[in-house]
């Protein structure tokens, strides 16, 4: 099987798309730039959001990065939501579709966060079933993102690396490695981020995320806040990761204190340079 990293190599480095940057994003010229959105913001019947998304998609590859499929909830994925997502996928034909190893919908409510769970054997069976059902409905492979951790939960049967490896094996899904999540979780749970990244099965990685984080008001925790420039430590981990697995589509996320588009393009260029360097090293090898 060809590595998905190589099938998507044309994607290079991309940017999270914010509404205040629609015009800038539309005007970006080529060179492998792509954009990612949360599909939840576009699951509407019509209007300017969809019009903009389609206009930008006509010029650039697009990725749909879901936050609400709630794959780790102990229940089936919401059929209506999956059908809406499928319709959006058919409409914009994204290069990548991804979701999180987390839950957010429970009971009759949606709790807008990516909530944690004990990685038990039961959870593994449930998550794998939910991913398979989602992939079957959507008619495509999706990438699953490693979550950020703030809590020490008792009762895990699986390490996260083994859990991810096993859902890949059972469902054929891909992985989205969020390097900032690894950095933040490693700090908060006192684990070794390099060892964590080394346990990621490289063939499964379809996408990488980079983002900034902040320090909690108490100073004890790092928060995956997406409201700052990418930290040097995250860049170093990213370099380690692509040295090992090769170049892979990489997305710069910024959701709070969003700066001018040029500032984001500059961060994107830094990631692109590392990817280009990786390609040339690989070519020389």
């Amino acid at each position: 099987m060809a590595s998905p990293c190589h099938t998507n190599i044309a994607l290079g480095a991309g940017l999270g798309l914010k509404p205040q940057h629609y015009e800038d994003a539309y005007a970006v010229v080529g060179d492998g730039t792509w954009f990612e959105v949360h599909p939840e913001n576009y699951l509407v019947d019509g209007g300017p959001r969809l019009t903009w998304l389609e206009a930008i998609r006509a010029r650039h590859p697009l990725s749909l990065h879901g936050v609400s499929l709630s794959l780790a909830a102990d229940r089936d994925p919401d059929v209506v939501h999956l059908q809406r997502l499928k319709a959006l996928i058919e409409r914009v034909e994204p290069a990548l579709v991804s979701e999180h190893l987390a839950w957010s919908a429970w009971g009759d409510h949606y709790h807008p966060d990516l909530l944690p769970f004990p990685r038990t054997q039961d959870a593994l069976v449930r998550v794998a079933a939910n991913i398979s059902r989602s992939q079957d409905t959507l008619g495509r492979r999706i990438a699953i993102e490693n979550p950020t951790h703030y809590l020490t939960i008792e009762g895990h049967d699986w390490s996260e690396g083994d859990f991810l490896r096993e859902i890949v094996r059972r469902t054929g899904c891909g992985l989205l490695v969020d390097v900032n999540n690894v950095f933040v979780s490693a700090h908060n749970l006192s684990i070794d981020p390099v060892a964590y990244l080394n346990a990621i099965p490289s063939d499964a990685v379809m996408e990488i995320h980079l983002a900034g984080h902040s320090v909690d008001t108490n100073g004890a925790l790092l928060i995956d806040s997406h409201d700052a420039a990418i930290a040097d430590g995250v860049w170093r981990l990213y370099q380690c990761l692509i040295d090992r697995i090769g170049p892979c589509p990489t997305l710069i996320e910024r959701d709070g204190k969003v700066p001018a588009f040029d500032v984001l393009l500059h961060e994107r260029q830094r990631a692109q340079s590392l990817l280009d360097h990786g390609v040339s090293m690989e070519a020389m090898a």
Partner: protein, 257 residues
Amino acid sequence: MKATLASFQDAFVDALYGQAPHDSRVAALVGQPGFAVYRNTVFQGSVDALEANFPAVLRLVGEDWFRATAAEYVALSPPTEARLLHYGRNFPDFLAAFEPARPLPYLPSVARLDYLWVEAHVAPDAGHITVADLLGWPPQLLERATLRVHPSARWHWFANEPAYTIWRANREGVDVPDDLVWEGEGALLLRPLSNVVWQPLSIGACALLDACAGECDLESAAKRALECEPDMNLSECISMLLTVGAIAEIAMHDTTP
């Protein structure tokens, strides 16, 4: 009780909303500093969504009052779906029953207009007809036809206060006019092209649109409008609705049995 994934999730949600978690695994989490991160994110995500959906209310009451009130609403009515663009459908009703909002009796109506804007913003795209299209119909046929309202059109008559003028000023970020007359007002919000536009609407025009949306033919819709507003100029009103793009098509009822 067996410690299942479901029992963990029941307990985690209870703990998020401040109730005692009936699962020892979750009880062990609540005391960790990281639990507050989830609680804050869940509440902030919902409050942020309300703030985005109710900008005129926000401007009227200020950030602190809004966020405190929104937090109470979130605790009572958490989002029921992931599309937070739709969150807050019953926020106007909540405000109407919310004791601290009593000094601002028009606040629920302003909230209702904010939510009509949301509905118009995400409604299906559709074309509209013009006065010329209407004039092409023979009058006898036309009075038995139905004007189909544009799918983005939202309208409401506020009997008790000049809700539209207050909403509009706050939506557009200007002062409420000094010569504000305290009387009922109606509003029409519509997305004929890319963006939502708004304008005042008379009580008769609101009744006309209500009747059209209820599948009445034009003759009975006109009758209802005139009952509400006997001195209205009906043809001028219909012409205005066509000109702004509020009518998507003229539909003939199937008369075959």
